[in-house]
Structures are given as C-alpha cells and as structure tokens.
Symmetry: D2
Subunit: 342 residues, 4 copies
C-alpha cells in the first residue's frame, strides 16, 4: 500500500504515523521528495481499510499495490478451480450450460422445459422459485412449491438444479438444490453471503448491476472466507447509459476475472441483454472470450411466461443456439461433462 | 399502458390478444394505422408486469402511461407526508438533521459525538452498529453492543437514533431504535423491505448506487404495501464514470421525488462525495433544491475512525456547517422541531 | 410516431394539433381513452424532431416507432454493404485487420511496423498523424509529416492506410490516405461529418465514449446524407463506472449494429481496454459476435512509444494474436482479401 | 508522479529507467521494498503523458500527485478570475444570468425574447445560430442569418450575446458576438479549442456528456495554453443510467471546479434536465453550491420552437424563476452587474 502524504507534513508527524502501521506488523518505507513524502507499507495489508487510511489528515492519497482478496486470488492458487456437483463439472477444461425458465410455474412447464433443454444438451436446469421483482405487485415466485417442482424435474431428467435464494432464513428449503444462486441485487447482501460461506453447496454469484470487478471478487471472498470455496462467478451485464439492451454485457470481465482469480466464470446473455436474438452471438462471444459456462433462459411458451418472458428462447430457438455452442466448444477444445443419474 | 404491435399482426391475433386483457378487467382501445397497430389499456395496470407484455411475440414495444407505484404516488395522496418520531418531525414544513459517526465504536465516542452534534443543532443521532463493508476482513460493526451504546447516547442526550439493519432476523434488536435505515446496497433486498413493511417504525430508505428514481419509489412501495407508510427517502449519490467524488450526488432527484411522491426526501452529502469540504456547499444546495433533511457524518477523531473516517467532519467543522444550514433554513422558511426528552 | 397526450386536453385542441401534422403530409390516428388520448402519426416522420413534439404543452410523452436513420437502415437496404479500397474488402463475407502504432513517429518505425504487421497477416496499416490528446502539453502527432511517412510505408508494403482527421480544413492533406478515421471524441463533430459526406473515400467512424447505438447510426447518417455511403462503424468501448479497463467494450453493439444497419462493423480491443493481454480473447470474441474486422495497436517498441504505448502489442504478440484470429476466421468461414499492389 | 514498478525489476533496470527521467530535468526518488519498488518523480511532470509511462513494461501503476493543468489551476492563480465583456462581469462576487431561446428563429422572436428576459433581469442573451443536432434531417440553425438577428437583438436591448461555434472556419462570422460558446459535444474538439486559444473573446466551455472534471479543466487548459485566459466553465449535466432527466446535473462539480480552478463556473439546468419545472429548484441549488451564473432557455412560444422547446420556459415562467434567483443572490451576497449600452 502506498500513501502520498500532504505537502506540509512534519518529519515528526511522519514518524509517529509510521509507528502506527509498524505496530500492526507492517514494514514502512518513507521516501521524502521536495514536494511530497511517500510512504510504502509492506506486509499483510488486507485488514487495512483503504478509506480509513485516506481519512488521516496527513494523507493526500492512497493506493493498494496488492489485491484485497486472498482466497479468490489466482496469485495464491494458480490452478483453475473446478466446481463439481451431481456429475457436472465447471471450470478448467469443463464447460456447463444452465438453461430453463426465469420462473418455475407448473409441474408440466418445468418438467417439459427440463426435458427439452436436456435433449438440446444443457447440463443444468435453472428456474426461479423466489423471484426478486421491482414491483411488490408483480408475481413473486412459487416459493417452496417452486422448489418442490424443481425437484420433480430433477428426478424426471437427472439434471442438477440451480435456483436463487433471497433470504438466509430460507436455506433449509434448499436441501435438494445443487447450486444456490445469489442474484445481482443481492451481490452485496453481506449477511446472505456470510451465511452461504458456511454452507456446503456450490454458490453461483451474479455480478451486481453497478459493481466493479474488484467488488465482485470481494463478494466471492465473503463466501470463501466462511470456508466455502465452491463459487462460480456470473457476468450478467452492468448498468450503463445505453438503453437498447437491458444492461451492457461486459465480456472483458471474463478474461479479467479468469486472470485475477481461479474461480470458474459463466455468462448470462439472456438477462444481460433482454433480447432473444442476441443470445446466440453473445454465447459464442462468451466462449471465445474464455467463459466456463452459460446461463440461458428458455421457456416453452414465452408469451405467457409469468416473468421475464421477453428474453426467453423457445425450446426450438435454444436448440439452434446449442447447435452453435457445441460446435464452438469443440473448436475451442472444451468439454461438457454430465453424468446424469437417469 | 400503450402497446405498439408488430407490423404483420392479423386482425384476429389482435382481437384475441385484447380479450386476454379484457379478462383482467381492463378496457382495450385498438387503433390501426397503415404500418402499426396501437393498443391502449385503460384501468388498473399496476399488476401487469411490463416485461411480460413485452414478451408477447405480437408486441414491438410497450409504454406505461401511469406510474407503477400507488401508495408512494403523490397523485393519490397530494399532501406531504410528515414522519414523526420521538418529538422530531420530517416532511412538509419540517426539516431534520441526522448526524453522527459512520460506526459506533465506544461509549465515550458515541456519547461525545451525540452531545456535540446536539449542541450544534442536529435533531437525530446516526451511527452504524451493523456495517456493510466491501471486504470481509474489514471492521463489521459492534452489532448488538453497538445498538446498546446508541441507546446510552440516546438516554444521555435525548436525541432519537437512526441506524442500519442488514438482516430481517436482527429486527428484535432494534426495539430502542427510532428510525431503521436500509442501506444503498440493500435497496432491492426485497425480503428485508417486506419485513420492514410489517414493522411500526419509520424507515429511512437509501437510494441504491445504480437505481433509477422509479426503482427507488418501487422499493418504498414494497414497504408501504406491507402497511408501513412512514418512509423517508434518502438520495446519497449514484455511480457514474466520474472518479473525483466517490459517487455523483443527484440533486435533481430531490425535486423529482417530491413531485412524484408525498414522502419526505433527505440528502446525505457525506456518503455521496466522500469529501469533507463538499458537505457545506452541497448541504446548502440540497436545502435550496427542496430537501426535507440532511444526514451528515461527524466523528470526534476522523483520522482514527474505524470506518469511513475520510468523509467525516470534526465536531468543529460540523458546527460551521450547521451555522450555514440554519441560516439557509431560516431563509427558506423551514423549521426544525425536536422536543427532546431531557 | 406515437404521442400520448396530457389528461385534460380538449377535443378541439386535439383536432387542431392533428391538423399541424396533416399539413406536413402525415396521417394522424387519434384514439381516445378514459384517461389518455393517444395520437399515432403515420408517414415520413424523419424530419420531425422528437424533442420539438415533446415540447408541446399538450404532449405527455412521445415514442418513435420507426428509426430516425434511413440511409444506414437495413430495412431499406437489406444486403450487407461491402466497403472496398486498394484491394481490400470489408463487410459481408470479408474481414479486415487494421494494425499499426497509435502515432506515426519515424520512417524507420512506421515502415518497420508496417512490414511486420503485413507479415503477420494484417491487411490495412493504421497510424496516427493528428492525435487528439487530453493535454495540450502532450505530443500531438507529426501532422503532415506523419502523413508523408504513412505514404512511404504504404509504398514500401502495399498496405492501404487508415488515419484520423481532426479538422475539415486538413482534408487536402489526406489524398494518399485510403480510409479516413473519425475519432470517438469527434463522433458528434457534425461539421466534420458533413464535410466527409462530400468526400469520395471510405470513412471509419468510431463510436463516441458515451454515445448510444442510435446516435452512432445517426452520425453515420450525417456522412451518408452527404452522398458518401462507404462508412465503416467501429466499436471501441464506452465509458462506464468500471475502472479496471480504460473503457468497457460493448460487444453486444456488434450484432445489434449489424441487425439495424447494413454497414460493416469492426472492433478496436486495444483502445477499448488499454490492456495488451485482453486483445487476444476480445478479438476472438469480436469475431464470434459477428464483427467484420479488427483494429489493433502494434508498436515495435511499446515502452518508448510517444503515445498510448500502454495498450500496444509488440510485433511478436501481434503475430500470436493473428495466429489465433486466422484460425477463428477459418472456423467462421470469413475471408480476408487484400490484393497488395506490391 | 509516483511509479509503482513491477515485482521482478532488477536494480540495473531501475537505475537506467531513472536516468530517462533525469534527462528530462526531473529528480527521481527510488524506494525499494521487499515486494515493490516505488519511484517518485519531482519537477515539472506536465509534459509527461501518464499513459506513456504506464506503457513501460517495468511499470505496474502510475499516479499523478500534481494536477496536469497549470494555467487553469488555482494553486498557481489563487484569486478568482473575473471575466468581463460589454459591461457584464462574471466570477468572484459577480453573477450573470444568460437567457434566451435554444435556436434563433426570426427577428421578432429573438428581439421579443431578448426584451422579455432583460425585463426579468437577465444580463446576457443566449441563442443558437449553429445548432448541433443528432439528426442530419433536423433544423440545423439559421447560421450567419442567425448571427445577424442576434446582433439586431443586441442593438435593440444592449444585452451582450453568447452563441455556439461549431467550426473554426466560422470564426470570422463571430465578430459581434461577446462570448463564444463551445458545446458539450465539442469539448474535446481540440482543433477548435486551439483556434479559440488565439482569439480575444471570452469562451464559454460546456462540459462534455461523459467527461471527467479533470478532462474538463484540461480542455480549458487547451484554450488558455493559446493565450486566452477568459474561460467560463459550464456544468450542463452528464450522461448516466438515469432516464427520468435528459442528463444528470452534477452539482458537486461546481464547488469542486471552484476549488481546483480560479475560473468562473456557471450551470445550465435547462439542458441538464430537459424539464422546465426543474429549472427553478436547480437554479437555486446551483447558487447555493457557489455557481457564478446560470444559463436558462426561454422561448416566447415553446410548443412551436424549432429545437429543444421541451425544456424552455415561457417568459412568464422565467420571470418567476428570476424572482426567486434574485432573492437567493441577495441572500448569498452576490451581485449582478450589467452596464447596458442603452
């Protein structure tokens, strides 16, 4: 950590300031120029809050040299993490496609979609039981009944399931869920992240609408700091001034996250854009950029979907996308593994 | 709600589509042009999710004519809401200043700051016991011990207290708290909002870092839909490309929120900018723009603050700001009322 | 164009308002609901400024149904435009790679880089003679001398050249230039665009840092309205809150621009990110998303580059990227054609 | 300037790197830690392009300690600059209100508006003759005829005039113009800025839609580097994700610009928001934040304005705003001076 001190600090102030850091086990290098004094802190600075340092009236500016995340940092864990669940692997050479409706609606719907996306090659079934909706008057999901229907679809097809949690108090209901999803709006719901750090299931963490890559990794760090290293990162678009798409998919985030971290990274082109005809080109682009998986919305009857039908593909459209995805994965030498239970 | 249909829809499709809406009690006006057919829905459209309508393959575009929020809407509640608690009023002619440290640290600190901000004219004491921090390794607040210290400061000074909640499970601990704050990162933590809708205390709802004014009002609506109408809105800066300030304070939001809604609106210049010398000019600007209150960070020893000291004022600096604030309030004809208990 | 009128308009106001539009040759459909009156305008609305309509005190909201761009619109020109110059084609099945230094510095440098990028497979040489720099004290380019050196490099290698213009008054100097580039900061320098509309050379138009896709197409329309249809669009990153990369590359813009327009679309991953190791994954992603070309910065000695060396590849790094690009183009069935003159 | 070097640099590399800077007259302090080496450059670093330094493969990160602007920097020019023209002063204690239509349309219109805004207390007449429009098919302004009509209005009322230039080639036409405006879209049209640096008239420089405060000051520096110190800065809203207003007015920029620079700063609430009823509260807020002036759109017949009528006030509405503005200026102890010629 590098501190630029203010112009008029005295030698005594600097030395007493340095002692504060040395008391915390850090080594402190001071370099005095004609205009500015620079202080370099060496050691484990992860516990130092950069804003607290900035608060000191002696300090003009502060800069971290080392990343504030440790468990998620590739520097300390060079090999790719491979997350495994129910016969599916994701990360390293393994690629996964998670597909299904935004909301679970009926038994017929979810089993129908599950069978159809399985036929097209998806390896995980997605579907929302708890739905974060902007309006309190909109459909909020089937809750525990939705989770029950997902289990039926899992039993029927052997596809593992991923679904969103919104409240730590609901964790008991997620027993049969294979991957627990944290939605974009809850990326910095730190109470939820801490709770999931103590759980044994893989967590799919979606990037917040206005969160930086560093904040995203710090939220993964919250989960990992609790002992759960099975975190899958998901880029799903960020909020910008552009209004043509619902959000702006930040595909640069894929190679950056994979450079900074060993965790698998997937892309959700459906939520990122809200436009069905963008799913195929952006799925291909995500694979080319190095993504480890895709999450795609598929609904058997998009016009009558109870939520977010606008961005859903029909099973036929999804099949066409998967044709293209599989060709591209072969070209890239990526594998999809899924040892289905039935 | 206005629907622009796609170019090639048939008359039969339009009429069957219209019937779906009529079945929900809406009146449906169809206007057919040479290129486009337009459908206008009249009635209570608040339960219709605009994205679901957009999903219909017949629909090219949709536009809401009436706002999707009802309880928070000034159209249905023209008079300003005045939120009252512990002798303080906010909204309508009443203005309130909430001041105190980012984090509660020690009994001496919080009572010291409380006495000092009271002397300068603050009417509410703020202080964090549960702190949302980007890093899991940073100080997370004193939790229930922090709430206990806040109660001591309240007893010592008579100032009502406002403090942040991060988990619905903690609600029982907030018995002696006068106003419960929902932080920016939890503005769309809908599970928390729903829980607070059933509580009897005023809620201070902060705008999310990347949330629109409409989303902000919809989150207030979540609380109000549960029966709690005592919501105070707080503009605290939004995330933009500008890096000089921590966030960009959106002061236009103040007159807009007051135009669209009857709820009181306050401004937090400390978190919005992260720069102490901006607090005075932006506090004055907030009052001039019509704000009903201010939330300002004050710490007796900013350089040693355990969190967010960077943006805190010293008690002396706060006193100078309050001198200016009180002069401005007098000019604007706004009142601060606070019937302190001791 | 659809106009939502205010709640309390009278029938007479509506009919007199409608007459204004009918006088301009438009057909006007009026639909009166219980709360709102909707007016639909049919005909050529491209001359109507949407803000002017919004200004009318009768109007609550306006919405365009048809795009405001015509020459650039794929609806009126379904086939892909192929831009041709000096043996190179771009658009439709043809792909082009433009590579070279940010700034032209010396004869040795530009000829050296030109020979090296040609060997690696680039089909166009890029290099800046007029440089838009944030600081007036930074190197501003070699100006006409830079253009002379580019001509030498073109003569030596046969590669056509693309270089930026900043002032319509300089147009005479660009005689030997094959493609004239308009930089991101000048995307809405309408005086420059108009001038280039009268010129016979292909124009490479870069998207502005904060411009929407529609504004981007409207700027292309400025050039095309003057009679020059040879416009190449270039996505080069937009400004967002994320600070890890210099800008956020908006790859969704590629399939969207190709959907809305027939013009060729290329991607500049160097300027978009400012990070050399992101050029390869994002070049691959751009091709997968459907881009018609790439613009990549290559410098023989990045550390001593006079401008923007940070993002430049060395010739060796570029060669590795081109290896990967050519493999990907083959997979996608795209061709690079370049009938070099020598 | 502070350079953080990469982890594995050798002593020899550091010393040879330091020599490069010493050759440019800078003093170079090196501080070697266990993990990182830090280099501090002292002296005039304004000619060093930070991106060029970042490009060096030895460099991990760079940070400026001193601002890159000099002429505009308050550090080197502590007193407020007062810009004077035609009996009007702006800056320091002096406040100015510039009002008028977006576009000059007819003699009757511009003289009518000029007389009316003068009666209400405006001290400068604004009006566009060259209009930057997103669409090539929209009204582009009356050009030299518009300038002629502005002169007539100036002669009739004595109000000095401010109007926008879009092309350096038009400068000769601006003889009778008192203040030349550079629009937001041309803030980084460096060729135009350089030209205006050689001219003797005050320049009103508007902040670009996506430009940082530092970039804004660097554009002022371009003008000042040419010898013209009469620059007025204008905050007019930045582009964010919020869609309720046309742009997001960044009022924090006012006290920040006045802190960093000695130049006068004005605010344009009309263009920032596009909503007439926001002009009054935001004008008041701008004054409270320390602005030195306002620019407000007034049109005698907003519904029939040829451009941007949506945000224009009627003369009656403007009169009400001015009533409030004058009261606020008196409260703040600011003066409006205008020695009208007739």
């Amino acid at each position: 950590m590098i501190l630029v001190l203010k112009e008029n600090v005295t030698e005594q102030q600097v030395s007493s300031f340095a002692k504060q850091f040395e008391a915390q086990g850090l080594v402190c290098h001071v370099s005095t120029g004609t205009q500015t004094t620079i202080m370099g802190l060496v050691g484990d600075t992860s516990k130092i809050d950069i804003d607290d340092v900035r608060a000191n009236p002696l300090v003009a500016d502060v800069k971290r040299v080392t990343e504030p995340y440790k468990a998620a940092n590739r520097k300390f864990h060079p090999a790719d993490t491979v997350v495994s669940f129910a016969g599916v692997k994701i990360g390293g050479p393994y690629f996964a496609v998670m597909a299904g409706p935004c909301s679970v609606e009926t038994e017929t719907q979810i089993i129908g979609v599950a069978e159809s996306v399985k036929r097209s090659g998806a390896t995980v079934l997605r579907g929302g039981a708890f739905k974060p909706r902007t309006s309190p008057y909109a459909f909020q999901g089937l809750h525990s009944e939705g989770l029950r229907l997902l289990s039926l679809a899992k039993a029927a097809t052997g596809l593992p399931i991923v679904t969103e949690i919104m409240n730590p108090a609901h964790l008991d209901l997620f027993d049969d869920v294979d991957v627990i999803q944290v939605g974009a709006r809850n990326m910095q719901n730190f109470e939820l992240l801490k709770e999931l750090g103590h759980c044994k299931k893989p967590i799919l963490l979606k990037r917040g609408l206005a969160n930086t890559i560093e904040e995203f990794l710090m939220s993964a760090e919250y989960i990992m700091a609790g002992g759960n290293n099975q975190v899958i990162l998901c880029e799903r678009g960020i909020r910008t001034y552009e209004t043509f798409t619902r959000n702006t998919l930040d595909l640069s985030a894929v190679p950056i996250l994979k450079h900074l971290s060993h965790l698998p990274v997937i892309v959700d082109p459906s939520h990122a854009t809200g436009i069905p005809w963008l799913v195929e080109p952006l799925s291909k682009a995500a694979i080319a950029a190095g993504a480890d998986g895709l999450m795609i919305e598929v609904h058997n009857d998009p016009p009558h979907a109870l939520s977010d039908g606008a961005q859903s593909l029909t099973p036929e459209q999804f099949d066409a996308v998967m044709h293209s995805v599989k060709r591209q994965l072969e070209f890239e030498g990526r594998n999809m593994v899924c040892t289905l239970k039935n």
